[in-house]
């Protein structure tokens, strides 16, 4: 009995297929971009191929993430918040707080002792504290996004970046550079700013051990260190930080079947693409 979860984020689309023992049969990560309704199917097919399955062979498909509404072949749509919680519950049962730093938004999720969502927060209409913030600044600095983490670790001090508006932080960064601040100091300052914002947002859920960081942000070691600094203790990082949402979706599908929810078999494989 295989189950699939597909997580369509703003920058990445992830798919996972698990069996009835909840062992991962296949996982795929691809870019989202404008044509994501097209790519959703592409990524799904890749995963099916890896698992040696056909879509008809899947007992349940759950879609989550930004693009969840536009997945014609999914049996159900669930928000990434519930899915992250479900995924983490399976991976790291001791976790009580999830900090997810995605491309478009960052979330804080509080789990109860059964690993169910007890409360959550999302950044409100401001990109500071999201991956995009770092992306934009990385562009300005002419630094590769995946290098930011290592670079910041080489800094002894950080410069304060007070502007939380991404566009205006760019000015601040460039004027700091003009003042002679080093790139590592600035990158460290950015991590400091984002960590401060995100941790502060999560704080009003009540900080509680263990804390896990997921999403693209978890792959930035500098940012993770800055977060640990603010939280005051080490945080956990899942083996595949990008996949927790998709995994949670697949497991949620299993839960549905257990609860006797029958999948809608009108799964449509049409390739709705953006530019046609």
């Amino acid at each position: 009995m295989p189950f699939a979860g597909i997580d369509i984020g703003s920058t990445m689309t992830k798919a996972i297929i698990v069996d009835h023992e909840e062992q991962i049969l296949a996982s795929v990560i691809g870019p989202t971009g404008a044509e994501h309704r097209h790519l959703a199917l592409k990524v799904m097919d890749e995963a099916l191929q890896k698992a040696g399955l056909a879509m008809e062979g899947l007992d349940f498909i759950v879609a989550t993430g930004y693009g969840r509404i536009s997945v014609p072949f999914a049996d159900k749509q669930i928000t990434e918040i519930t899915c992250h919680a479900r995924g983490i519950r399976a991976l790291l049962p001791t976790v009580r707080i999830i900090i997810d730093i995605g491309g478009q938004d960052s979330k804080g999720i509080k789990l109860d002792t059964e690993g169910k969502v007890a409360n959550f927060v999302m950044n409100d209409k401001c990109a500071a504290g999201t991956g995009r913030f770092l992306e934009v600044i990385a562009e300005t600095l002419g630094v590769k996004l995946d290098q930011l983490g290592k670079i910041s670790l080489t800094a002894e001090a950080y410069v304060q970046i007070s502007n939380t508006c991404t566009v205006f932080a760019e000015h601040e960064v460039t004027s700091r550079l003009a003042e002679g601040a080093s790139i590592p100091e600035i990158v460290a300052g950015l991590h400091e700013a984002i960590a401060g914002r995100v941790v502060n947002m999560v704080r009003h859920l009540g900080m509680e051990k263990d804390v896990v960081v997921t999403g693209g942000g978890a792959m930035n070691i500098g940012l993770v260190r800055a977060i640990e600094n603010k939280v005051g203790f080490p945080v956990l990082i899942p083996p595949e930080p990008l996949l927790t949402g998709a995994l949670g979706a697949a497991l949620a599908g299993h839960d549905f079947v257990r609860r006797g929810v029958t999948p809608d078999h009108g799964r449509r494989r049409e390739r709705v693409t953006f530019f046609q």
Binding site: I81, V117, N119, D124
Partner: protein, 380 residues
Amino acid sequence: MKPASIQLDELYVQRDKHAKELRDSGKKVIGYFCCFVPDEIITAFDMVPYRIQGSQNKAIDQADAYIEPMACPFVRSCFNKALKGEYDFLDGFVAPHSCDTVERMYNIWCQNKPAPFNHLINVPHMMGPSSEKFYRQELDYFVKSLENWTGHNLDTGKLRDAVRLYNERRAVLRALYDLRKSDPPLLSGTEITAVLVAGMGIPAAKHIELVKQFIDEVKGRPLPQTQKLPRIFIWGNELDDIAFINLVEECGAWVVMDDLCTGTRFFWEDVPETADPLDGIATRYLYTHCPRSNVPQTKTRAGDLGNRYSYINDFIKEWVVNGAIFYIVRYCDTCELEGPDLREYLNGMGLPVLMIEDDYSTSTIGQLRTRVQAFLEMIG
């Protein structure tokens, strides 16, 4: 004859249609802000009270040249319509001193888009005997300036009738709300919002007649799908568009009760019938439940919250609510200071709360879907 549901819907879509017709037939239409300008007084002068609304589905494309963008977007949207001439049909413009922004807007409005009659009613922020007296005197002054403008004296008999009329409308609307007590409720929050907003631009008598018919129609129609869904209470300020409540219900919930400027806040309590009707009116309107009004502190914090929110407690018990969503139109200082207090109180009763701050705009609402759906998944 069209069914009331259709007529109400048309009025909701074209809020000023009927008011304009009445004006063409020689009636005077008086526009006003918020919940502190008594319809009864305007009606007693044989004029049509018109609750000024903005357009959540239209961008604010003129107002910024007159008022700062960090002002309440609802008020800015209303003024934006005025600048475009969409309120030129108003014979009068009345603003209560409900909050800093509305008070400021009164002067900006009068100096750029004056109506033939303009008046500001100063509403006390504090509540107590001396405030009642002062507010009553402000109403006297309002009556006087209406008398000067219209050339007619206020007819106390007509004022009494108006009080009865509006109390009847309140009763009818409460009866409509009662239809949501059952599970599933007989009608959606989206429908209710449209019905309430539709009534803000027409004489009470017509609204009463339509709502009565509508109630019969609702009772007559088949029960909605019976799948068990969370029952939501909405708190906030101006929600004169169905978009947000519709989103909540689309995500799988029933909006069964509210405390909104465009909901129970403006009609729930009756005006007591007093010897001098203005006394009853003053009391009723002064004690309108709005964050801008300061309920005197009673002893301890717990007692104070209980005292401030007991009416919400009743709502939640009677309408069997499972969760509360706050929808705060950004830059409303009093709501933003009240929200956390109310959340503390509701959480204390074990009721989960989702607090949302948003622009007064339907096109941002899509971005709230994840938040709302996750909240429903959490409590469901």
